[in-house]
């Protein structure tokens, strides 16, 4: 088995609310995958199950053959959908935190990326703009040499130049053994960098396909197909 991510029969309930239902999903290495679905379709829940921030009500999740746990955290680099740093931290403290926590963190690479953004280590994290905070977090996440990168809404409402920076950062740092999962509802923004797409709807996997296969068989972009599939949402 060389599945990098193996989700089997996963159901996640919050009280009476079913967030995910019987989800099966396998991802191999060396792919950039779009986890796509409207708001509330279960994208963030699925990501958090893989990171280990949530546990499934039923079913199992494995990364590189190991059940999600301490060992898999070494292999997974996660960009949360919100800021994870304390407002009192300086940028260099954020870098230090990553360096302390992750042995695969390339501090030289992170410093280089932050310098390219024109951010100094002594700057207070809270003084940065929302877009800049997102870029700093992405730079840190992509400075790890992980097997699986999970980016939850990396382009949540940033300007087009920031979008270009984010995609460029992903392309530049992506390597053959790693797989990048990008969760988003903004498909048109990321479509050209994706190998595969996973459509989530109401907590179920609606479709898994390569982008090429969708374009080849339907003569339409993934964005157009997505709009048709989810028209009344």
């Amino acid at each position: 088995m060389d599945a990098l991510l193996d989700v089997r029969g996963v159901t996640k309930r919050f009280g009476n609310t079913v967030a995910l239902e019987h989800v099966d999903l396998m991802l191999g290495p060396g792919r950039i995958v779009g986890l796509l679905g409207p708001n509330g379709s279960g994208k963030t829940t699925l990501v958090k199950l893989v990171v280990g921030l949530l546990t499934p009500t039923q079913g199992s999740v494995a990364v590189a053959g190991m059940p999600v746990g301490t060992q898999t955290k070494r292999l997974v680099s996660y960009l949360p959908d919100r800021t994870c740093f304390d407002n009192r931290m300086k940028v260099r403290d954020c870098v230090g935190l990553y360096a302390d926590f992750y042995e695969d963190f390339d501090i030289a690479k992170a410093k280089e990326m932050l310098a390219a953004l024109g951010i100094e280590g002594r700057a207070a994290f809270r003084s940065l703009s929302k877009g800049m905070k997102e870029k700093v977090q992405l730079a840190l996440v992509m400075s790890r040499k992980a097997r699986l990168y999970l980016l939850d809404e990396p382009i949540g409402g940033v300007d087009p130049a920031a979008r270009d920076y984010i995609l460029e950062t992903i392309i530049r740092n992506y390597f053959e053994e790693g797989t990048v999962v990008i969760s988003t509802h903004l498909i048109a923004d990321v479509e050209t960098v994706l190998d595969d797409v996973v459509f989530l709807r109401d907590g179920r996997v609606e479709r898994v396909s390569s982008v090429d296969a969708i374009r080849e068989s339907q003569g339409k972009s993934v964005d157009q197909v997505f709009r048709e599939v989810f028209r009344c949402c």
Partner: protein, 134 residues
């Protein structure tokens, strides 16, 4: 090269077309080096695997050669380039004729329209003398 992609077909196929056009038009001359997979992926803002697939396709067409140490270059096989150029031209001509047919012009009428347009550009067509261009 400026990269723009249509929605109706795979991106790797469009990269193949655009590089092929670059080779046919001379924008990418014989023997010239092509960018690396990652460099092109960054330039066109596409997935590196997509670029890889496009390069493999161009290799199988014989238009691009991969060298063990020095990356990829455009083929120096002039005959092959000429053959692809001719095939591409034929495809365009067929498309033009099909368009004309749907506008209600038969092949002979289409040819005379073509001759007229070419004559206005000062080109010799079907034995007619080139016009004096000032």
């Amino acid at each position: 090269m400026e990269w723009a992609f249509a929605d109706d077909r795979p991106i790797y196929a469009q990269i193949v077309e655009q590089i092929e056009m670059g080779i046919l038009s001379g924008e990418c001359p014989a023997g010239s080096a092509l960018p690396s997979v990652r460099a092109l992926a960054l330039e066109a803002e596409v997935n590196p695997n997509t670029v890889q697939r496009a390069f493999l396709e161009l290799e199988s067409l014989g238009l691009v050669r991969t060298h063990r140490t020095s990356g990829r270059t455009v083929t120096e096989d002039g005959e092959l380039v000429m053959a692809v150029r001719r095939r591409t031209a034929q495809g365009r001509v067929e498309r033009f004729l099909a368009d004309m047919r749907s506008l209600g012009f038969d092949a002979a009428q289409a040819v005379s329209l073509l001759a007229e347009a070419a004559g206005q550009q000062g080109c010799s067509v079907l034995g007619s003398e080139p016009k004096d261009v000032r």
